[in-house]
Symmetry: C2
C-alpha cells in the first residue's frame, strides 16, 4: 500500500452564506438586493414549485425588494446542456446579474453552468471538457427544495450533454453560490424515491471523501463518520413520516456539510464511484442517487483489500459492527453488507439487474468512463477499464 | 425542563480563508497583497517569534511582496486595553490597511480590537462594554502559533481592561480575519503548560456549544462529539512528543473547527463557564485554559441534573462510558469524572485550591461576573450570583 503519511496542506474557505430554517425563503428578495442584484433570472424545473406555492412566495419576495424578475423553467434531472445554453443567451440579452436556482441539485448545477457561461466568450461546455477554466461567474443563489446534491454550498456543477449522453463535472471556486436558502419544510412534498436517492447521494459525498490513502486525518475521519451516522439514522425515519421537520432539518444540514469541502480538508477523496455512476445516469437516465446505491457497495467489494483497516474502521464507527480481531476483513465485509441493507431498507435497488441494466452495456460504459483525459478513475484505488467492468460484474 | 423542541433557524457563513500546513507562512506576503494590503502592522507578543526565526520569515515574505511593515510588540496573555489603544493610534498615524497578528489568541484578539477601534471615532472599550457595536474594521490576518483560542477563524475578541481587572468579550461579523495561516510546526516550541491550557480551551469551546436546551440537533451533537474525542485522544500524545507534526495538525485543525461557529449552527450555546472563568483570569491572571479546566467540571456537577440524558450522551459518546440503564445519572457523573481525569493527565490543576484561590475571593468574583447587564450567566442553566458561588465551592 502507498500511503501519504501526513495530513495534506490545504486551503479552505467556503463563501456561501447559508440561511437555514422555517420561512427562510421569505428573505429571498432582501438578500438578493443586499448582494447587489437588480435583474434576477428565476431558474427552476417544472410545475411543482407552483403547486406548493413556493413560486408565488419567491416572486413576491423578489418584487417586494424592487427586483426585476426573468424566468427559465424546464430543468430536468441530469440537467441538459441545451437549456444551459438557452440560459446563457437569456442572461446576456437581459443583463441579468443574479441567477436564482429554485430546486435541487439539477436546477442549481444548471444555474451554475449558466453563471460561468454567461461571462465567457466561448461555449460553456468547454468548462466541462477541461478545454477552459472559469474565470468568473454571474452571482448564483439558491433556494433548496431537495436535500441531496450538496450543490447549494459546493464549488461544483455536473451537466449532461445530450449529444452523446456525456455527463461531466466542472469545479471552480467561482461556482460557489453567494447565498443558499435551506428550509426543511420545502422538502415535505418529495416522493419516497427522491428521499431514497437524495439521502444516498448525501451518504455518497461523505463516502467519496472518507476512503483516502492519506493517513493521520483523524478529525475529518471522525467528522465524516458523524455525518454518515446521522444520515443513516435519520433517512429511514423519513419513509414513515415525510413531513417531520426535525428529521428533514437533520438530513438537509447534513447534505450541505457533506459536500461543502470541509470534510475533505487535508485528504484526497476518491470519486471513482461518482465517475462510474455518471456513465450509468448518462446512458440510462437513472437518478444519480439510485445509481450510487448500486455502484458504491460493488466498488467497496472490489477495493476493500487495499486497506482492510480503513474499511473495518468504517464498519465499527459508522455501523457499530463488533470487531473481529482475528479476521478484521470480516469486519470490513460486514460494514459493506450493512450499507447494502440500509439502501434496501430505503426501498432502493442494489443491483444493476434490478434496474434492467445488463452486461451488454458494461463494456461501453467502462469505455466511456475511461475515455479522454481520465484513463483511470478514482484515487483510493486507480480503476482502469478492466477494473470498472469487474465492478459492474460485482453489481450485476 | 424547558426545551426548544426544534433546531433553531440560523445564518451561517465563515469568511476566513484557512491556509493550513507546512511552510504556509511563506505565503503571507503574497496573500496580504492579494487582499489589497499596502501597509501592514505586524502585531505580536515577545521575543519567541524572533528566537524561532518566524519573525524573519514573515517580514521577508511581506517585504518581498512590496509591503510596508510597521510593528507593535508586547501583547501579553489576557491582552491589555492599553496596548490596543496604542495600536489604534499607530494604525491611524500610518494609515495601516492590514493588521497581521502573529501569535496565539491573545495577539489575535488584540489585533481584532485594534482593527475595530481604528475605524471608530469613540473609545474601543465601548465595544466591550456593549456601549457601541462595531460598524467596520481594518482587515486582520493571522499566523497562528498557539492552537487554543480559535480566534483565527472566529468573530470574537476578548480584552482585559487593567483598570478594574475587567475581562470582556466582543462579538461581531466584522471581526472575522480575512485569512489565517495555520502551520502545525509553529507550535513545536510550546511549553507543556501551554499545550495543556490550549487543548483545554479547545475542548471548552466545544463544551460550551454542546450543552444546550435545543433538542433535535443531532448533526451538531455528533460533530461536536467527534471534535471532543479527537482533542481528548490527541492532547496527551503531545506531552510525550511535542514535535509530532501529525498530532499538532489534529489539535490545530480541531482548535479552529471548535470555534468557527459551525458547531453551534441551530443551537444556543451556554458560555457560563467562560464567563465565570473570565473573572478568574481577570482577577488572578491565570491562563484562560487553566481556569476552564477547574471551572468546567464544577459547572457540570452543578448543572447535570438539569438534563441527565444529555450528560449521559456526553459520557457514552465522548468517553465511551458504559451506560447504567437503571441509574443514568451515574453514567452522567462518570463522564464528568473522566473529564477531570483527562485534565489531570494533562498535568493541570482541577481545583481552585491548587492554584491558590481561596473562598475569600468567591463573593467578589461572583459579584463582578453578574454585574452590569449580565445579572445571570449561561443559557443551559441561568446562573445568578448565588449559583456561581456554589460552583466555586464545588471547585474549591
Amino acid at each position: 500500500m502507498c500511503y501519504t503519511v501526513i495530513m495534506n496542506n490545504f486551503d479552505f474557505k467556503n463563501p456561501t452564506q447559508i440561511i437555514f430554517g422555517k420561512d427562510s425563503e421569505k428573505r429571498t428578495g432582501v438578500l438578493a438586493a443586499e448582494y447587489g442584484a437588480k435583474k434576477v433570472l428565476l431558474h427552476y424545473g417544472g410545475g411543482s414549485i407552483k403547486k406548493t406555492g413556493l413560486y408565488d412566495r419567491v416572486t413576491a419576495s423578489l418584487k417586494a425588494a424592487g427586483l426585476e424578475v426573468f424566468e427559465l423553467a424546464g430543468v430536468k434531472p441530469n440537467p441538459r446542456l441545451s437549456l444551459v445554453r438557452e440560459g446563457v443567451s437569456l442572461c446576456r440579452e437581459h443583463s441579468i446579474d443574479l441567477i436564482l436556482a429554485v430546486g435541487g441539485g439539477s436546477v442549481i448545477d444548471s444555474a451554475k453552468a449558466i453563471g460561468i457561461g454567461a461571462v465567457y466568450e466561448g461555449d460553456v461546455w468547454d468548462f466541462y471538457t477541461g478545454k477552459a477554466e472559469p474565470q468568473g461567474s454571474l452571482k448564483v443563489a439558491t433556494i433548496l427544495t431537495i436535500p441531496a446534491a450538496g450543490s447549494e454550498s459546493s464549488n461544483g456543477s455536473v451537466i449532461t450533454n445530450e449529444d452523446g449522453g456525456l455527463k461531466r463535472p466542472c469545479g471552480s471556486d467561482f461556482i460557489y453560490p453567494v447565498f443558499s436558502i435551506c428550509n426543511p419544510e420545502l422538502a415535505f412534498t418529495l416522493p419516497v424515491s427522491q428521499i431514497a436517492n437524495g439521502t444516498a447521494d448525501i451518504f455518497a459525498h461523505m463516502h467519496e471523501r472518507y476512503f483516502t490513502n492519506v493517513k493521520q486525518v483523524d478529525l475529518t475521519d471522525r467528522l465524516i463518520e458523524a455525518g454518515m451516522r446521522n444520515i443513516i439514522h435519520h433517512a429511514p425515519r423519513l419513509l414513515d413520516n415525510p413531513e417531520d421537520y426535525d428529521t428533514w432539518a437533520e438530513v438537509m444540514w447534513t447534505g450541505t456539510i457533506a459536500h461543502n469541502n470541509l470534510l475533505d480538508t487535508g485528504r484526497v477523496g476518491d470519486w471513482g464511484s461518482h465517475d462510474i455512476e455518471h456513465e450509468l445516469s448518462g446512458m440510462f437516465d437513472i437518478a444519480h442517487g439510485a445509481g450510487l446505491a448500486i455502484i458504491i457497495p460493488a466498488w467497496m467489494k472490489y477495493v476493500y483489500k487495499h486497506d482492510v483497516e480503513l474499511f473495518a474502521q468504517f464498519a465499527e464507527r459508522v455501523f457499530f459492527v463488533e470487531r473481529d480481531y482475528v479476521n478484521p476483513w470480516k469486519t470490513a465485509l460486514e460494514g459493506i453488507y450493512r450499507l447494502e441493507q440500509h439502501f434496501k431498507r430505503m426501498g432502493m435497488a442494489i443491483r444493476l439487474s434490478e434496474v434492467g441494466i445488463t452486461d451488454d452495456s458494461f463494456d461501453e460504459m467502462a469505455e466511456k468512463a475511461t475515455a479522454g483525459d481520465s484513463a483511470a478513475l478514482g484515487n483510493f484505488v486507480k480503476l482502469d477499464k478492466t477494473a470498472i467492468i469487474k465492478i459492474f460484474k460485482l453489481a450485476e
